[in-house]
Subunit: 217 residues, 2 copies
DNA sequence: CCTTCAGGTTAACGCTCGCTAACCCGCCTG
DNA sequence: CAGGCGGGTTAGCGAGCGTTAACCTGAAGG
């Protein structure tokens, strides 16, 4: 919509990037506007030339990442459908897309599930809607492979896999990660492994998961 | 220290419980002392008869849960060793213990990986030490089953599985969970499935990786 | 050359919030 | 019955923080 075509890292974007980093590090309330300003070389109230307020920055960040996550997922699913890919390949594409986000935009991923309730009602509703749609994409992809899962089970499984993938930012501080490609591959295997074990019939890693009679909320 | 043996839900514990809930809901900085007081029926500064300050509450909460997590894990591992259980059963015990925490003490679990850096240096060091020891317990249990994993891979896998298990608090708000037992079993399968897929050799959907009859306790 | 305006600056206001001060009261205990 | 004392209360201080006001400046544009 009103997002500029972007060409060079404009000041607004600089501010958003630094704000995201700081918010993720110390929490929304834990960061002062002076700090954000200092991080981009201007001081304090200069930010108000670019944003209506601190809240507006958070809103733009959260809405932005929700949109990008959802758009990325939807695009991948459409491409998979167009290319006639298998359900497995489609799910793999979703996973890889999410991993890219988790590894490239760690601060945003952190914010995304940490500061949602600091938003104005309208913004929060929009973010939640996008999140829900994104989850539904995943649920659909998962159920295409494991049809024996109930809607509820699939949703829980998807949420927890998000938790798994989004936990990468956490361990950046304390322990070092392997190189990006190795990490991505490991995360992919872990996510896939978790989902493959979701059906009640599947023990550790069942290949065939017969419809088990016990399915019911 | 001067911690009493406790017997009935004393006022201190009431305060801690409510503080945990509020901190988890709105963040440490997002909750005022007046609110915490109101939650237990007293108002504002009355809290200072029980705690040195707001920081002290957070510190006690975080140190407390770290200790309980670690102690619980260590106890389970010792019992497993004493009973001569298989590595698989030992890991299952760890997973079940963590699931109990995640389901019973959601606010604390949330706090645990969200507000760690609001602590005084000494407290933070203690919490991190306990966390590290707890992680090492898991890493040991995992490597006993999957010796082909490097130390680093195992650590990453364990961290992400924590992310998976700890994500339950998140979806309590938006979507309802199945009953506790069903949820616990599902979480167990997901965690086990993720770990079983950690070794690079294991294919995504895991056709192999030994079927494990891992039943809950 | 004068104007405009984007993008800064510093000063200051007002509110919130953690915490302290001062006071109070019911209940044991000697 | 006196007197601690545990556990409250309200009033208020002081710091921090988001935000606004007022002012400045350098570069485009007619």
């Amino acid at each position: 919509m009103s997002s500029q075509p972007v060409s060079a890292p404009t000041r607004r974007e600089q501010i958003l990037r630094e704000a995201a980093r700081l918010f993720a590090e110390r929490g929304f309330h834990g960061v002062g506007v002076d700090e954000i300003g200092a991080a981009v070389g201007i001081s304090g109230p200069g930010l108000y030339r670019h944003f209506a307020g601190k809240d507006a920055m958070l809103a733009e960040l959260l809405v932005g990442i929700s949109e990008r996550l959802h758009d990325g997922g939807r695009t991948r699913m459409e491409e998979a459908a167009a290319a006639g890919l298998s359900p497995e390949a489609a799910l793999d594409a979703l996973i890889d897309g999410h991993i890219d986000f988790a590894l490239d935009d760690r601060p945003l991923i952190t914010l995304h599930d940490r500061e949602l309730d600091r938003l104005r009602e309208s913004d929060r509703k929009q973010v939640r809607k996008l999140q829900r749609q994104y989850v539904e994409l995943w649920v659909g992809a998962v159920q295409a492979i494991y049809p024996e899962l109930t809607q509820l089970e699939a949703r829980v499984a998807v949420h927890t896999v998000f938790g798994l993938l989004n936990s990468t930012p956490h361990l950046s501080g304390s322990s070092a990660l392997p190189d990006r490609e190795t990490t991505a591959a490991l995360l992919h295997r872990l996510a896939r492994g978790a989902l493959s074990a979701a059906p009640a019939g599947a023990a550790g890693a069942g290949a065939r998961a017969k419809p088990q009679g016990s399915v019911r909320t």
